[in-house]
């Protein structure tokens, strides 16, 4: 069942408020287009200073997880290997070029993701510690700051 956009927007507004402290600490550049149900966040790797841009498209949120896509900072090309970090403790899938986790809509086979074994409507139970944009972003920031998990850009 589709979620009314106003409901999705209300979730986004709350979550944008909640992530402010972490955004300030890591100097994220947060751009919200709430009419489009879209949030874009620019952040850096502490390992090599690389800049990453990630977009959260939140239609049908939170009945479905956000549609997460990385964007090349300069060319603005979407979903390319150059846009994505490499590694990431399993978050960044090199064959499908997507965020591969239950909190990412593109991780599901219905959107050409790797997982036919997940039910998208159950995403918050499958991924209970990453149920908000801020919690997802905290994980992304952590993995690109950690040389164990981060190997530069995919391409």
């Amino acid at each position: 069942m589709a979620v009314p956009p106003d409901i999705s927007r209300t979730h986004m507004e709350l979550e944008l408020e909640e992530l402010q402290a972490l955004a300030a600490a890591y100097q994220w550049k947060v751009s919200a287009e709430l009419d489009q149900l879209r949030v874009t966040i620019e952040f850096n790797s502490a390992v090599d200073g690389e800049v990453f841009v990630v977009e959260f498209l939140c239609d049908d949120y939170k009945a479905k997880p956000p549609l997460i896509e990385f964007i090349e900072p300069k060319s603005k090309l979407r979903g390319t290997k150059k846009a994505y970090p490499k590694g990431g403790n399993g978050y960044f899938h090199e064959d499908k070029i997507c965020v591969c986790a239950a909190f990412s809509r593109r991780g599901y086979a219905v959107l050409n993701g790797p997982h036919s074994d997940w039910d998208m409507t159950n995403w918050m139970n499958l991924s209970p510690r990453h149920t908000t944009i801020g919690l997802i972003m905290s994980a992304f920031q952590k993995v690109v700051n950690d040389p164990k998990h981060y190997k530069g850009r995919m391409a």
């Binding site: 909640e18 402290a21 972490l22 399993g90 510690r129 990453h130 801020g134 919690l135 905290s138 994980a139």
Partner: protein
């Protein structure tokens, strides 16, 4: 004898920072458990605390005092499991 304490700030992606003043000998894992509860996060043993200043991850079994943290140092509570 009065216990020495340490004050740290903990950040997550969910809400403003919370300040904790705890005995210096507090184990990292105990502070994590308290913060997870206070932030309303689901319990689990996969959370970590990381120093925001230098990205050093704190070992859960060690006492806070062993890290020589600065007063009011910012620690970031994160979980990076779930990648598939």
């Amino acid at each position: 004898m009065e216990q020495k304490t340490i004050t740290v700030q903990i950040l997550t992606g969910k809400g403003p920072a919370k300040t904790y003043t705890v005995p210096q000998q507090t184990k990292v894992s105990d502070l994590i458990a308290t913060a997870v509860s206070d932030f309303g996060l689901p319990p689990g043993d996969s959370y970590t605390l990381t120093r925001q200043s230098n990205e050093e991850e704190l070992s859960p079994e060690r006492p806070l005092v062993s890290y020589h943290l600065a007063d009011n140092e910012i620690l970031v509570l994160t979980d990076v499991t779930g990648g598939a």
